[in-house]
Symmetry: C5
Subunit: 132 residues, 5 copies
């Protein structure tokens, strides 16, 4: 995946569009409307922040202008990074099942598939029955 190197500068430039401030379960995140809506336009996040569908929802910001989302900030972070660069990256200490719950909640289908495989790999086999 060396081929996504060097596009960085343009990427930043394209981010100059519009910044979105999220308050996820009490923690602050900053990202752009493009990150939330462009790559996976069929997800709930994309619908929430698209200029046409999302209008009614946009009034649900807190007093600092941050959009409130009642979910776990710890498990939301890898989801947001996935939207930023298309890679699923989870730290060793972080439970992939937590990230899977967020991917399901936001309806990001390709991420759900990757996470279900990661959860399977992560869990010890508890009985002797071979997987088929």
């Amino acid at each position: 995946s060396k081929d996504n190197m060097g596009h960085g500068f343009n990427h930043v430039t394209s981010h100059f569009g519009e910044w979105i401030h999220l308050n996820v379960g009490g923690q602050q995140f900053m990202t752009t409307r493009e990150t939330l809506t462009e790559k996976y336009p069929d997800t709930m996040l994309a619908r929430m922040f698209s200029c046409t569908d999302g209008l009614s929802w946009q009034s649900k910001a807190d007093e600092t202008g941050a959009y409130l989302i009642d979910r776990s900030p710890v498990y939301f972070e890898p989801v947001l990074n996935y939207l930023r660069h298309g890679q699923l990256i989870i730290d060793k200490g972080v439970n992939p099942q937590g990230v899977l719950e967020e991917a399901k909640f936001f309806g990001i289908l390709p991420l759900i598939e990757q996470l279900e495989a990661a959860v399977q790999d992560d869990q010890p086999i508890t009985d002797g029955t071979p997987l088929t």
Copy 2:
């Protein structure tokens, strides 16, 4: 548990009810009154934040309007996530015994049972005596 996917958008909509700001041991959490009261109405959290019983307690907010709770923020987080989506998810580095103390404190019975099993699995057997 693929079946709780896709309900996300409605879930967010239903969250538009009322936001609750918690200050747990010094850390800020944001959630909704529905999350704290609806799924497990018999817990202490539900009673604290229900519209009828909780009225007297609601005056105990700090100067920013956050409700103060004298408990560990680290171990409260998985408890809040459980109330959000009904799954117990703990990171590898987090001691399930700490989460169990919070579940007991808030009186969330199904979570206590799951956590007691998790604590048992987590502890190494220190002598050769079989458990009976």
Copy 3:
């Protein structure tokens, strides 16, 4: 320790006494005067925050009203939790020796004993001499 379940609501009620804001090494903690003074009245924390002895010390708060303590916030957290519910709970990634230093500093004797055992368990045996 199932027997400390259910007392939660009363516990919160009793916490309505007085909130204490601590600034430990730069991180904010919220707790109550009861937590700091009642269970272990012979510790330094209890003396610092007792209504009679602690008066002179109480002027040492910062501009937000938080009491400044020049110690590690990471290792103070399990100590504060111990004062909250009487259980020593340390995450796997956290070095028990760090918590032991705080327990010594604040002079919480039963916690020191537990932590010295935990440090011993945590350390690999570096020579072949059997422990006696």
Copy 4:
């Protein structure tokens, strides 16, 4: 690498130039223009914050004067430390692949090479085919 000891004081002195405030994905970082631009002048970060090329970009700060970058704060931290002292240092719990994505994004070539090796070392071999 004992030879970079003792230069500390001069290093701090040279940092007195100009402080840069970054908001990376919602988390605050403080560093200096020298750290971002001097050691690796061909990277995107250097171009973004160099006095000549970076002028147009510098207007993209938030209301507190922090430059907004839509990337992961967790994985940006080792990248910034690398620019500070030239060492790649990653905690055990942090996935090197996440840091690699940031190094690629910012175009820091020597760091990319080190991280690709670290990612290789970190991944378990999933099939029996020998690497050639």
Copy 5:
């Protein structure tokens, strides 16, 4: 090291001198001038914050009065704790090499020696050649 117990109260008393607010790479730390200057007076930190030598440097605080230091907050924390109580304590997930870089930067000689040993212990031997 039970012998440093009980001195806690005096220690706090002696801390009542003067509080120092540090902003290390964007994270806030609180400590006292005594902690930074007394135990190891030959280090860069001691010189930076001693009343005589440090005067010129003291004007380099940010708008909140915090002294800005362009280093990693994660690895600075164990260094500051070392200055507080003279023990090197690192969590399992934290890379000792990162702490070593900070100890070198600030020129704390006894800490450097301990950390170089810790780094050696931490690194797997990658080839069969015996160290000489």
